[in-house]
Amino acid sequence: MTLALRLTGLSKDFPVGKRLFGPPRAVVHAVQPVTLDVEEGETLGIVGESGCGKSTLARILVGLLQPTSGTIEIAGKPLDNADPAVFGRMIQYVFQDPISSLNPRKTIRQIMEAPLRHLHGMSADARSARIREIFAAVNLREEFLDRYPHEFSGGQAQRIGIARALAADARILILDEPVSALDVSVQAQVLNLLADLKTQFGLTYLFISHDLAVVEAVSDRVAVLYFGAVVEVGPAEQVFARPRHPYTRLLADSAPVVGRPLSAPEARETELPDPLNPPRGCAFRARCAHASALCGETAPALEQQPDGVWVACYHPLTGAG
């Protein structure tokens, strides 16, 4: 087993209320220090609700955002400068909105050629051969190359987005909600394509989504994010079937499932903590039935449980239910 990606203490703060000079008025910790390993050939699912920092984390990983602290290592080599051109050859990104990730005024060929030209400096002949190869792999017809993005449906556009990411020849793909904008019947096509490509090219995926069922269906391991921090990491088949963190349990119980009667796991209206005024200790404490005095003092660290699952909780659930 070799590590494809290692994140150590990666965090991101956003200043709020910037001034022309001097320090900002406040700081939001969008991503609390995250430490994660991703093995080669693995699909790591990252789930969380809106505002949990999952997209920020993804953008740091491809160098579109500079982390506030922490390091990224790809295949054992640290990356210290946030230059997307350096990142681009090793790690690529598939965007949520397939249409807006394609420049409306460029043909698909121009879009596909950009990474080949600027990252790999290929000649025109080599480029067109490579594009042909990739298009065959994602089941797109070559005549699409001379069309413009608006002529494609969401599913086709997302295939083009995936093809572009493949063209950079990176081994790691960050998939940021790659199917959320697609209709359910098209969603499955794209998910299956991603699975095929993974085996064909030996890729490693970070699959980010708010949809628990989709993440469970495609991932080897799943990391659950809450309020900018990882609260649980474990094998996909276990995380939702036998949740250890109370928040994961809440997520799993809230998902509508055929055959399960309707119930509100939380009767009262609860809201995410205020990012400008984060609570002391565990961020989930106010919503948690198991919270104790300890939870209000310091935030629990992510620790490995006897069964191999990592949980950030002083009172992890037993995993029986």
């Binding site: 022309l20 990730s101 990252l119 019947s185 469970e216 079937a241 509508p256 209206e269």
Partner: protein, 628 residues
Amino acid sequence: MSGFFRLLARNRLALAGLIVMGLVVLLALLTPLLPLADPDVTNTANRFKPPLSEGALLGTDHLGRDLLSRLMWGTRLSLAVGFAAAVIAATLGAAIGIIAGFYGGRTDNVIMRGVDMLMAFPYILLALAIVAALGPGLMNALIAVAAVNIPFFARNIRGITVGIAHKEFVDAARLSGMTDARIIATEVLPNVVPVIVIAMSTTVGWMILETAGLSFLGLGSQPPQADLGSMLGEARSALITNPHTSVVPGVMILIIVMAINLLGDGVRDALDPRLKSGALSRPMPTTLVDRSAPVPKPSDDGLLSITALETQFRVKDRVYRAVGGVDLHVEPGECLGIIGESGSGKSVTALSIMGLVASPPGVITGGAAYYRGDDLIGAPYEVLRSLRGRHVAYIFQDPLATLHPLYTVGDQLIEAVRAHHPTPRAEARVRAISLLKSVRIPNAEQRIDSYPHEMSGGMRQRVGIAMALANDPDIIIADEPTTALDVTVQAQILSLLNDLRRERGLAIIFITHDFGVVAQLCDRVAVMYAGRIVEGGPTDTILNAPAHPYTSRLMACVPELGQGRRVLAAIPGLPPAVDNLPTGCAFADRCHKVQPACRTADIPLSGPSDGNRVRCIFPMTASSEASA
């Protein structure tokens, strides 16, 4: 590009502007070649000759100069100066705007503060100050007009650039290894150019007016040279005695500027993608109804029964058959689910009932919707209005967009109460608070004075539900009310809706794309595909033994929590476009069981009226389902 000219030519006013402008420009270009008198030669013996005099078609001015000749030369000058000012202002302004917008941060901050400072002047003061410094003269007037317009362009283009710089394709370009300069040149600029062209075409007329204005004040072109403005300025002293000397240049300015404005509007309409689809139409108070076929009689006596409903969108010469003949009925206290993918017509069906489909482009072209025996389709506006919210209420998808951002939730609830029951405000407020309590909003007495943006998504949707309950309706139509919400909040909202319906005996039409939600909430369900119901019946039956291949395969391709890692059975292909539906079954092209018979004729919805009805001639059976 050819599409652009076609669009421009289709706009008759713009075409008229183009022709007039073309003529004026042509004449201005030809002026030196035409047999005209010298515009600057004075002949005081011939002063103030009226128009149509011999040797002076438009008469002469106070120095006896030929007005026609001066008009032609003046037009030439005014056009040149106006266009030059527009090009200079647009180029510099756009460059500043793109740099500020693309780099953002401190660069943006410093540049935009400078721009704000220039815009803090009433523009003519700045122009006057510049002319005062440089001295009167046409060139200096041009510089002044261009300079005062740069901030307007810069601010406009910056706004557009910020939007583009945050688009995902710019991130993608970065990840493709492109440098900032290349991204500006090949990703940002091509998307900004149409905006620059629009801004220029709508301001050229203004620039011509401005330079003419400075000349009118005597600060632009200096005698004897004349542009249209200075001709008007010189003629002012003889306005009362010899008005023709004023009218001639004034009318010319009017013609030029009007032609440019017409043309500019045409250019804007042709380049703005939103206008292409006719999107800037405002929806009318009720949907247009244009039923050619006879109105069907009520088929049963349910609370609400929809029969053969057809709704179309007519955009340009295309007809999108969004709803192609839908039958539904709802009993009191019942929850009916409508499930389908986007574009299946489920929302349009729901909105058609109360005439809330945006129109134009929506038109209800057939069918009926009987509420307690009265047809709502085509009912007069006042009848529909009195039923909306009182008997049939709606809950919409995105609670931030569906609440008015500038009124407190209390104001909006009070309005809902008073729209149908004229009650004193204080009384309505008490009712509003009790409504908020009934949807379990904590601290309702304080929350009532909150604005929507001060609440979380779940809270806002509770307000949306409270508003729907305001007049104790019989039916609530909920159009994907939880799609925009997080999963934990969705669970709360669904259970609230379920409790309310049991407490109050509400009928609910619940529109969703999620089988899990339908399974938990609905008594009966209708599955829609390409504008029609393909299967309908009791929820349990359909979820356990779907009869239509579409239902069965759709359920198979949606992952469900708790089933672990698996390969999904995808449906190949795409839903058909509703402006070009095939004959027969719309699902035929994607169906694994398709037979030639599926494509020959319309397939009816068949089956027992109280059981599972399906629009398929080869429905799934228990055995075929097992093999699928």
